[in-house]
């Protein structure tokens, strides 16, 4: 009995088609009809009969009356236990449009259209009126009437719409975890329901469940446009079954369910691709970092030069920079003096080979072996201190002294102070010719034996420089010169005093290294202040070792250095127009005078800086 409704739906569709084209539709209907169908359990007609015991006699009655479109309707009956089921014409259906309290309208009419195979009475639109009460009754051939007033109805109350059609679903979105998703279910109203005109106002109900469960989840479609519904929270990987039914608004009877649609969303691959993309990006970044580090490591030195340019530091070619540090000046001097063969590039040790950017300070120290060949390579310092030996030779005194000294005179003459035509005689060349000439190699040595840094206290007229050494004296021995000085000291017999005074401030006279001549001593007459050692005449004694009261840069003779203050006050000018100084710290303020001498013109030319106005006073 319950299957009647299900099949009746299909039948009604074909019936409608049959109404349009009777012959083919009717044929189709007859072919598709099947006896096994039952009315829906929701039918109000059926509820009473479910509780009847099969043993009790059941009279013929109507099982169901349904309208699908509120235009037509149909009723089904059953003969019950009475009558002969095989006789289709045994029972007849009569209906009445009941108007209460109106006797004129109580006539019973027979069913307009029978479907005996289905025991259905169909009322077409010409026989259907809405909002009027219909009452149906069954009459047998014996004129027995089976009628129940509860079987009366109005059409609008028996409307059960057809199920919606075109049920479909689309995935709305996926949760970030990828485990659940939302789905939008769409459908269309049943074609039999005239929703467009508004003759039927339909509301829907969507039901869904998992495949293996028995409970349906119901969703009443509330929102406009009422032909779609969103289902939230479906799980990935599970199969869901969805179907839909509808009813008239403000009425309670639902139509049949539509056919089920199955929803399934498998594992979402977008997450995998997303993670794969991130993996590729991470690997690419790591590879780039490794490549950069490799480049940095391999080109480390070049990058170091570019990024951190080296700070220039004093670096002398062939000299280890360690020697330039504090306290190692002895070794440095040794090297620079030629002990390390500094001048020869082939012998100089190669330092800083791996630093191509190193710019060396070239130190021109003359190679003693090739001194003659390197006459033109006199260092600047040497020139400053009195010129090269060669130059000095050329600039030798032009007087008799020079003859003896075999000194050329030329350049020296030119370097004399102007206004001193007799300066040839005022040559300050000192014949340092002694018995023993210091070896030529000692020249540079003697020069080098000074302190590395010495204060220039005076500038000679011929270009020589008067240095004043530092605090410490060099006590370097240098052969015969020292012997000579020691002899001289003994001669003076004032060795102690000299030593004492040498420790004081003294005036250092720089001698040019003279390969041929012995160390020359330049005698500044005004500066002779040594108490014990009076200023000797400059008159050269050819054979004698000339003791100059003035200090020579030669180390042994350093002992004889007259301690002269760097700056002394000029006391007065004597008759000979010599400047009398007043040394502050000396025991005797004996001014040194130049003895009368053919070179007396010499004191007339004071050594040292003379201002031009004094010059005029001093010149004879």
């Amino acid at each position: 009995m319950d299957g009647w409704m299900l099949h009746w739906v299909q039948v009604s569709t074909s019936v409608m088609a049959a109404a349009a084209s009777p012959s083919s539709g009717l044929l189709l209907f007859l072919l598709t009809s099947s006896p096994a169908w039952f009315p829906s359990p929701g039918s109000a007609f059926v509820t009473d009969w479910h509780h009847m015991t099969p043993s009790a006699p059941v009279e013929p009655h109507f099982t169901n009356c349904i309208s699908r479109d509120q235009v037509t309707f149909s009723c089904w009956w059953t003969p019950g236990s009475f009558g002969n089921p095989s006789d289709p014409g045994a029972l007849r259906v009569f209906y009445q449009k009941r108007v209460i309290d109106s006797p004129t309208k109580d006539e019973w009419k027979e069913c307009p259209h029978y479907f005996h195979s289905r025991r259905e009475c169909f009322f077409d639109r010409n026989h259907t009126t809405i909002w009027t009460t219909y009452c149906l009754q069954l009459r047998s051939r014996d004129n027995i009437t089976y009628f129940n007033t509860d079987d009366c109805f109005t059409v609008e109350n028996i409307v059960r719409p057809d199920p919606p059609v075109s049920l479909n679903w689309t995935c709305l979105n996926v949760s970030p975890s990828g485990q659940s998703y939302d789905v939008v279910v769409t459908w269309e109203p049943p074609p039999s329901a005239d929703v467009a005109v508004g003759w039927m106002h339909i509301v829907y109900e969507v039901q869904y469940r998992e495949m293996n469960s028995t409970n349906w989840e119901a969703l009443e479609v509330q929102l406009q446009p009422q032909t779609q519904q969103t289902i939230y929270g479906l799980h990935v990987g599970k199969v869901y079954e969805v179907h839909i039914r509808c009813r008239m608004k403000a009425f309670t009877k639902f139509g049949d369910f539509s056919e089920s649609v199955f929803i399934e969303v498998s594992k979402i691959p977008s997450k995998d691709s997303f993670s794969l993309l991130t993996l590729v990006i991470v690997l690419g970044v790591v590879a780039a970092v490794i490549l950069i580090m490799w480049i940095v490591v391999s080109q480390q030195h070049r990058l170091m030069v570019i990024l951190l340019p080296p700070v220039p530091a004093p670096k002398i070619k062939g000299v280890d920079s360690e020697l330039l540090k504090k306290g190692k000046l002895n070794e440095l001097n040794f090297i620079l003096s030629g002990g390390g063969l500094l001048g020869s590039p082939m012998y100089s040790p190669e330092f800083y080979q791996d630093e191509p950017w190193v710019d060396f300070i070239e130190v021109d120290v003359k190679d003693p072996d090739t001194g003659e060949k390197q006459d033109d390579q006199a260092s600047d310092t040497e020139r400053l201190l009195g010129g090269s030996p060669h130059v000095r030779q050329r600039a030798g005194c032009s007087n008799a002294l020079s003859d003896r000294l075999n000194i050329d005179d030329g350049a020296l003459t030119s370097t004399l102070l102007p206004g001193q035509p007799d300066n040839k005689e005022a040559c300050l060349c000192v014949d340092s010719e002694r018995g023993e000439r210091p070896p030529a190699p000692s020249g540079p040595q003697t020069w080098v034996n000074t302190d590395f840094y010495a204060q220039v206290s005076n500038v000679m007229p011929f270009g020589g420089v008067v240095l004043s050494p530092g605090q410490h004296l060099r006590t370097q021995e240098s052969g015969p010169a020292s012997n000579q000085s020691s002899k001289n000291e003994k001669k003076d017999g004032e060795e102690e005093e000299e030593k004492k005074q040498k420790e004081l401030q003294f005036q250092l006279l720089v001698l040019e290294p003279d390969s041929e001549s012995s160390t020359r001593q330049i005698i500044p007459p005004p500066y002779c202040s040594l108490p014990g050692e009076s200023c000797r005449s400059i008159e050269p004694r050819p054979a004698e070792a000339y003791q100059s009261p003035y200090v020579s840069p030669d180390s042994p003779q350093a002992q004889l250095f007259a301690p002269v203050a760097d700056y002394t006050v000029v006391q007065e000018l004597d008759s000979q127009r010599s400047v009398l100084l007043d040394p502050p710290n000396l025991q005797s303020a004996q001014s040194c005078r130049l003895e009368q001498h053919p070179l007396k013109a010499l004191p007339a030319m004071p050594v040292g800086y003379v201002t031009p106005d004094l010059q005029g006073a001093l010149s004879p």
């Binding site: 235009v71 809405i130 909002w131 007033t149 509860d150 109805f153 109005t154």
Partner: protein, 221 residues
């Protein structure tokens, strides 16, 4: 919902206060020239009226269902009506075809007659149902009144637009009703009254829909 309808009717009142031809004058609400005030089209008016009638029908259905629970449940809401509804004498189209066939003016008049006929019974019902869903009864009573005004405005607009003739006139007083219907509703019991009103509100709703489909053609009509 009632508040919205009130504004609608005020707008309609303003629209028709000019009392002239099709030219629409500024409504009472929009007298100040406020921005956003716009004249509702006939389709919109119909939509609002239909919405209102649908709401009224659903309320009547709820009330009827509540009454039904006090009785033995019947299958198709049939059986306990001993007399016809007091509006049974009104000639109303009883099918979709008939509703589409009759003249628009007649359809409009039928709607208005129905609404007029239920004004008093519902107000009376609200008075006696003080302890039983009085809020729904009150709402139903108000809705009937406002729906009648709305349909009158729609009818007037249709007449101004020339869609229907000027023969439509709503019965204004009780004297227009047939004598048999003047007081018959008092004889009805409450549940019968609710049953009848439920049916009539369904009629009103469907008539309005068909009328709109005929007046303002849309796709599918």
């Amino acid at each position: 919902m009632p508040g919205k309808l009130t504004s609608v009717w005020l707008l309609l009142a303003g629209l028709t206060s000019g009392g002239g031809p099709a030219t629409v004058t500024a409504a009472l609400i929009c007298a100040n020239g406020q921005a956003g005030c716009r004249v509702l089209s006939l389709a919109k008016l119909f939509d609002r009226v239909i919405q209102h009638s649908a709401r009224m029908h659903s309320i009547s259905d709820d009330l009827h269902s509540e009454f039904e629970q006090y009785f033995v449940p019947s299958r198709n809401h049939i059986g306990r009506v001993s007399r016809n509804c007091h509006t049974a004498n009104l000639l109303t189209p009883d099918s979709k075809e008939n509703a589409e066939r009759i003249a628009r003016e007649e359809l409009t008049e039928v709607i208005l007659k129905l609404l007029v006929a239920w004004r008093d019974p519902l107000w009376h019902f609200h008075q006696i149902a003080a302890n039983f869903s009085s809020d729904k009864a009150l709402e139903m009573s108000d809705m009937v009144r406002e729906l009648r005004k709305g349909v009158e405005k729609v009818a007037h607009k249709m007449q101004t637009l020339g869609m229907i003739s000027n023969s439509v006139s709503s019965p204004s007083s009780r004297e227009d009703l047939p004598p048999s219907e003047r007081g018959e509703w008092r004889l009805m019991k409450d549940h019968e009254l609710l049953y009848c009103f439920r049916r009539d509100s369904d009629k009103i709703q469907n008539y309005l829909k068909i009328l709109k489909c005929r007046i303002v053609p849309e796709h599918g009509c």
